[in-house]
């Protein structure tokens, strides 16, 4: 059983997590039912299956229960009941995260925030909104679209993922190249700490005295507490867009174009790359009209005030032409632009056409290293006999190499792990990171010690202890501590159907 591979964070870190007997657990379930009512609680094994994992399906653990609170007060009561019963707990949004952040390590209670889904306030004049954590990312953008505003972080899962989840993982997306990731758009947070206290940091104003606590909490992957309210910035829609599709014979020409666009001081709103394998899968799925023999395509969007847009687009065309672009053209209208973005954002969904299983990495390299890194990935692919396709946020240097295999083939699994590891290590060697936007979760815990010294990690753990001293909240995440040994033996996730 895969459950057995993941241990809670050591008995000292999660006292009683494994030792509490059935009667204590039943008592907890009764208490939780008293807090949220019978329709706010799941305990039957068949109902718990959905909550065993997130988009990282390798590690699965059945939660002790799933609770659906409606308010911060209920979250406080739930948290206190769990701690009293000696059972860990963790927050969960839509479960679209990709690194195992929502795996209930230690048979934790899952606090599902999907019923806290109200948009509490919208202030267009002051450019902020107050939302509950279960609000889906795209709902907020739709709500304020009529005023000419949007919520800038736009992960590919934005139709499903929650803003609470965006806060936990500091989500990115294609347009974060120009507009910044989630942390750049969060003004304030209300959070239930593991001791049940309700705290608030930041708020509707753009600045509060003292250290930037909001910034330190965003991206904590649910290890500090349960966020129950979020003040987010609203961003004005640009006056205009120019969306370019560049078709290149080779990956090298495309990556050199990217490097030169950034180097020339142009700041596109988005700059995305897809290579031949993924182009073919996307073409099969959506029939946009991408040439199936192209080596790579770039989707480049510039936005802002109208007067300068054509000139910016022309500069990009000129750079692409210097790198032998086969064809570069502008989206004809908004409809074509939307279709282009749909192809890009749903590219992962098309991967299922290529192989029964896949494994995505999330490495980052300095942008000038992209040509080298893509060649390196190709070499790794050949060395291990594992096809790898690439669809990624090129402008940020944030790679998403997708390793294709069949998880029933044990040898292929072993090769995928070895290939992934080589790619990650090369990212680190070049001064990059093992994760640009997916997070550490349980998947990349073992890389933390490669990126950071024991002293670096100790300082991070000191911060966690301030919020979560006994590690009841989201144990077994992000840090290789307390005897956790996550032996990953099978890579990646199945392609979604």
């Amino acid at each position: 059983m895969e459950q057995n591979q993941v241990q809670p964070q050591g008995r000292s870190a999660v006292p009683g997590a494994e030792s509490c007997g059935p009667s204590v657990a039943d008592e907890l379930v009764d208490k939780l039912r008293a807090i949220v009512g019978a329709d706010g609680l799941l305990t039957v094994p068949s109902e718990l299956v959905t909550y065993e994992c997130d988009g990282f399906t390798l590690e699965k653990i059945s939660p002790r229960a799933v609770v659906f609170p409606h308010s911060a007060e209920q979250v406080q009561q739930i948290v206190r009941a769990c701690v009293a019963a000696g059972v860990p707990f963790l927050p969960r949004g839509a479960g679209t995260s990709l690194a195992g952040g929502t795996v209930p390590v230690g048979r934790a209670v899952v606090i599902a925030l999907t019923r806290m889904k109200r948009i509490l306030e919208v202030s267009v004049r002051d450019r902020y909104a107050v939302v509950e954590p279960g609000v889906v990312n795209l709902w907020l953008t739709r709500r304020v679209a009529g005023h000419g505003f949007h919520f800038a972080p736009d992960p590919s899962s934005q139709g499903a993922c929650t803003i609470g989840g965006n806060v936990a993982t500091n989500s990115g997306g294609p347009h974060t190249l120009k507009y910044g990731v989630t942390v750049n758009h969060v003004l304030g947070l209300e959070m239930v700490l593991p001791d049940g206290d309700l705290i608030r940091v930041g708020g509707p104003a753009q600045e509060y005295p003292g250290a930037d606590l909001v910034g330190a909490i965003v991206g904590c992957e649910g290890t500090f507490g349960i966020v129950t309210k979020i003040w987010v910035r609203l961003t004005r829609n640009p006056q205009g867009y120019r969306t370019l599709l560049g078709i290149f014979e080779t990956v090298d020409d495309a990556t050199n174009t990217i490097s030169d666009i950034i180097g020339a001081g142009i700041l596109p709103a988005a700059l995305e790359m897809m290579d031949r394998l993924i182009i073919q899968a996307v073409e099969d799925a959506f029939g946009f009209g991408f040439p199936r023999d192209a080596g790579a395509v770039l989707i480049i969007e510039v936005d802002g005030l109208e007067p300068a847009l054509d000139e910016e687009a022309q500069r990009i065309v000129a750079i692409a032409q210097r790198h032998r672009v086969r064809d570069i053209r502008q989206a004809r209208d908004e409809q074509e632009r939307q279709l282009l973005w749909k192809c890009r954002k749903q590219a992962f969904g098309a991967v299922g056409r290529l192989a029964p299983s896949y494994c995505t990495q999330d490495g980052v390299v300095p942008r000038t290293q992209l040509p080298h890194m893509l060649r390196y990935i190709q070499q790794v692919s050949q060395k291990y006999g594992i096809p790898i396709c690439n669809v990624f946020h090129a402008g940020d240097g944030n790679l998403h190499p997708i390793l294709l295999f069949d998880e029933r083939d044990a040898d292929a699994c072993r090769r995928v792990l070895a290939a992934s590891d080589e790619i990650m290590r090369e990212c680190l060697r070049l001064g990059g990171s093992v994760t640009g936007e997916h997070g550490i979760g349980v998947e990349k815990i073992n890389y933390m010690a490669h990126m950071f010294t024991p002293e670096d990690l100790d300082m991070m753990l000191r911060l966690r202890k301030v919020f979560n001293p006994d590690n009841w909240c989201s144990p077994g995440k992000m840090f290789p501590t307390g005897g956790v040994c996550l032996e990953v033996t099978k890579p990646g996730r199945r392609a979604p159907l």
Partner: protein, 432 residues
């Protein structure tokens, strides 16, 4: 060497730092050594950059070492084509700009007294200015830090790539921490291409019309990089630069654009149209490179009242400077309130930040005014911090409102990062 010269411990004492010695580390290793030595000698460490805001924070009582960071001057790495730069903390904000401009790049965050203020100090104090409306603040650019912790270990957080979610974002935590959590030694920023053009439009706005004007500008089709509101006192230093003498000025509203040249030109035309039907008078327009001195003067703004360590006569200062925040829609109300109580006012109105300076000669009245301003700001949804204050008043004018909900959390973080209270003790949270 740094042009600032050597700190005089006597001046530092006058400004509330109980300094017994001055150390000048020249490398990260030497900073770590200093921490080891200070621990052995059981003295505190007061890291100081350019010394432009020495009186920010609570006064300290524990004797300690003034750690002069200005010898940490290296450009650690500048891969210009990646649009990132790693600098040691002793480099001034102005020095960084010179390096970046050679590659046509910039870190577009306004640091007051940029020729003297260091990058480390700017991060510790979370400084920003008029252009935060268009370009954001340091938290939007700082992607990696190197620092020395309480045990004398050289630590890091973040990295040198523009997108990175590995581990907690301690970079953010150090922004605004007043040097109380560790000693920053190097900083990695993402940077931007220099804007192609810039322009400033200065208009006079009658008092009663200020709320309407700010509302209208918040809906402008243009996207100002800066939107400033200044009263007559705060404009005093701009007169010579703008070549104009105000006649019974109520409010000077400054609209600034830094953008592609075509966009600047279009926005100047557009905003002129939008303002046509309003009772505002154009005072001055400053275009292109000629506008630089005015941008600079706006960035320094009311920080000019903060006493400098070099000025022994003024070391204790005469002014109190408050930095208040509130949602932008409350700015007109706050500005009018403050001016009505004799504060000099400069607001980054589009961002909801107001700087207010008051002559502190009448100390009782001054303390009451600070407390009132704090209440009004809190009622508007924001908070106020005392950025500079004569030493004699600092016990009565805590730099931030002790009633703020974050205070206890900050205190816990301070204890976790610096359990023995070696870094700027007492300054960040009282008694810690």
């Amino acid at each position: 060497m740094h042009s600032r010269g050597v700190f005089d411990p006597e001046h530092a004492r006058q400004m509330g730092l109980p300094v017994v010695d001055v150390w000048q580390p020249g490398s990260v290793e030497e900073v770590a050594d200093c921490v080891h030595r200070a621990r052995r000698q059981q003295v505190a460490i007061y890291p100081v950059g350019g010394g432009t805001l020495l009186a920010f924070g609570q006064p300290s009582t524990r004797p300690g070492i003034l750690l002069d960071m200005s010898r940490l001057q290296q450009t650690v790495e500048y891969p210009a084509r990646d649009l990132t730069i790693t600098m040691q903390v002793g480099v001034t904000a102005g020095g960084l700009e010179q390096i970046l401009q050679q590659e046509g790049q910039t870190l577009p965050v306004d640091i007051p007294r940029a020729d003297q203020a260091t990058l480390g100090g700017a991060v510790a104090c979370n400084l920003s200015g008029p252009r935060r409306l268009g370009f954001g603040t340091l938290r939007d650019y700082l992607i990696g830090i190197q620092y020395v912790n309480d045990r004398g270990d050289v630590c890091k957080a973040g990295g040198r790539v523009v997108k990175n979610v590995a581990g907690y974002d301690l970079c953010k935590l150090f922004i605004g921490s007043l040097g109380a959590l560790g000693i920053l030694t190097a900083l990695t920023f993402k940077v931007r291409p220099l804007p192609g053009d810039s322009a400033l439009v200065l208009v006079h706005c009658p008092d009663g019309h200020l709320p309407i004007l700010l509302d209208v500008l918040s809906r402008s089709a243009t996207q100002p990089t800066a939107l400033e509101v200044l009263d007559a006192q705060a404009t005093a230093r701009l007169h010579a630069l703008a070549g104009w003498r105000p006649q019974q000025l109520h409010w000077l509203v400054v609209i600034g654009y830094q953008e592609h040249a075509r966009n600047v030109a279009w926005q100047l035309e557009q905003v002129a149209k939008e303002l046509q039907s309003h009772p505002v008078a154009l005072v001055h327009r400053s275009l292109g490179p000629d506008s630089q001195p005015l941008w600079r003067a706006l960035a320094d703004g009311l920080y000019c009242v903060v006493p400098q360590w070099t000025d022994s006569e003024q070391a204790d200062g005469r002014w109190i400077l408050v930095r208040a925040s509130a949602p932008p829609s409350r700015m007109a109300e706050l500005c009018r309130y403050a001016r009505g109580r004799d504060w000099a006012v400069q607001a980054h109105a589009g961002s909801g930040i107001m700087l207010a300076a008051l002559d502190a000669s009448d100390s009782d009245r001054c303390v009451a005014s600070v407390n009132e301003l704090r209440q009004v700001t809190a009622q508007a949804g924001g908070a106020a911090a005392v950025v500079s204050c004569p030493a004699s008043l600092r016990p009565q004018c805590p730099w931030w409102d002790p009633a703020r909900p974050e205070v206890s959390l900050m205190a816990r973080i301070k204890r976790a990062f610096d359990p023995t209270g070696i870094f700027n003790p007492g300054r960040f949270v009282e008694g810690l």
